[in-house]
């Protein structure tokens, strides 16, 4: 069990989510100019980086809303969250 899985995640206040097409979005960090592509599941996850949802909460949301969920979904979710934190797009809410 990852101890971070219960911590709420919050998006960086300056980071912009550009939903360019129905099936494609871009996370844009105006501070660095970096941009990262997101598929619809990525968008769903990102929209829960609101300081109220943890990885476990978001995994529950995905299970309810998505179809054909792979067995290792939670691992992918944890990797995604960690990647956004590592590149400065999000943080865990301070306890």
């Amino acid at each position: 069990m990852n101890e971070n899985n219960k911590k709420a995640i919050i998006a960086g206040p300056l980071v912009v989510l550009r939903e360019e097409f129905d099936d494609w979005a871009v996370l844009f960090d105006p501070e660095t100019g970096n941009a990262f592509g997101l598929n619809p599941i990525g968008v769903l996850i990102w929209k829960h980086f609101d300081g109220r949802h943890s990885i476990d909460d978001i995994a529950d949301v995905i299970r309810k809303r998505a179809e054909a969920i792979p067995d290792d979904m939670q691992d992918h979710l944890e990797d995604f969250v960690q990647a956004t934190i590592d590149i400065g797009l999000a943080v865990y809410e301070a306890e």
Binding site: V16, R18, E20, F21, P30, E31, G33, A35
Partner: protein, 372 residues
């Protein structure tokens, strides 16, 4: 199938002022539809940038006139920053001092400052830009470099600098140590229309510029680039000629008016707040900022839709293209130069027509690219 349009453009080009401290002989702004008598006040630009922020625009490119001529440019930039966007500026460089450069650097949001330099020495640059402006522009570049800002140069090639390209490249890349620069040429827009004989390259000069730029591009590997003008023409035309000689099949997107994809990813605003598809198509009025719904204009305006559908128009239909052996490899090029030269947007641009160039006595450069 028609390409899908993004919900909002990624970039918006904004002519932030119609005023300039210079009157360069080939300026595309003056005498064009965007050349208006009064700038919009700061407050209206602030409202507009708030709307851009809501539309999740990523970058704003400021041009003019001369952006640094506006006394409230810092407030304008702060409004862009406050709305979570980045910015680039196209400038003549003459009004940039260390204080301004330090301000730009402190925002942390500057993608690029592009300065116009047309010569390796003052007499060449100043020939069409006015006395004393070479030194001022170079001083501006030095101030930007001292503040570690991303600075580049655009060289407009014309009749008085076409024999100086080697010295210009050396000056910019070796003496000023710029990472790269880009080139275009005086094209038939704005003031250039009045001064075409003095500024626009003849066919022979165009041939010379293409050959020289290809050689320099090879020598300074990847540090000289172009999306228009002699270098871009040379690269594109050589590819077309090779395709013709090898009798290649028509590549995807060629043989139709596919020369510009701008209307799919960007839009523009004139200094008077008129929304246009592109600042070079300033006569195509799509609406007004702070009045019309910007995203409705972007998604649905018939003229913007029309520009996006140019790519369905085959070059075979144009009498202008009759008997041309390059049709299967051609894109028709820029709709704005097509308009200024023919009065029609939905027409191939004569300005960048290989067949016309060759029939006018032009010659393609020998391929000089070295292979290491």
């Amino acid at each position: 199938m028609a390409a899908q349009v993004m919900k909002t453009p990624r970039n918006v080009d904004v002519e932030i002022t119609s005023f300039c401290n210079l009157r360069c002989a080939y300026c595309s702004h003056f005498s064009a539809p965007g050349d208006i008598k009064e700038d919009l006040p700061l407050e209206l630009w602030r409202r507009f940038f708030t709307e851009l922020g809501r539309g999740r625009i990523m970058t704003v490119t400021l041009s003019g006139g001369e952006p640094f001529y506006r006394k409230d440019l810092r407030d304008i930039i702060q409004s862009i920053v406050a709305n979570r966007m980045r910015f680039s500026i196209l400038s003549n460089g003459t009004l940039i001092d260390h204080d301004m450069a330090a301000f730009l650097a402190a925002t942390g949001r500057c993608d690029l400052i592009q300065i116009s330099i047309d010569g390796a020495i003052d007499t060449t640059h100043d020939a069409f830009r006015g006395e004393g402006n070479f030194l001022k522009a170079v001083r501006g570049i030095r101030a930007l470099q001292a503040n570690h800002l991303p600075v580049t140069v655009r060289v407009t090639i014309h009749r008085k600098n076409v024999h100086e390209l080697e010295e210009i490249a050396r000056f910019l890349l070796e003496e000023l140590e710029l990472p790269s620069f880009s080139t275009n040429s005086a094209s038939h827009m704005g003031l250039c229309r009045k001064n075409a004989d003095q500024t626009q390259l003849t066919v022979d000069e165009q041939s010379l510029a293409m050959e020289t730029l290809l050689t320099l591009s090879d020598r300074y590997k990847g540090r000289i680039n172009a999306t228009a003008g002699p270098l871009a023409d040379a690269q594109f035309w050589l590819e077309m000629e090779q395709a013709r000689q090898e009798k290649r099949q028509r590549p995807e997107g060629r043989g139709f008016l596919t020369g510009c994809n701008g209307a799919m990813k960007t839009m523009a605003v004139r200094a008077d707040g008129v929304i246009v598809p592109c600042l070079q198509l300033g006569h195509v009025i799509l609406g007004h900022i702070n009045q019309d719904d910007l995203w409705d204009v972007w998604q649905r305006h018939p003229q913007l839709q029309g520009l996006r559908q140019r790519s369905r128009i085959s070059l075979d239909h144009f009498p202008f293209c009759r008997d041309c052996p390059y049709i299967p490899y051609c894109t028709g090029n820029c709709p704005a130069t097509a308009y200024t030269l023919t009065g029609e947007i939905d027409h191939p641009s004569p300005d960048t027509c290989l067949w016309r160039f060759l029939n006018g006595g032009g010659r393609l450069p020998a391929v000089t690219t070295s292979h290491e």
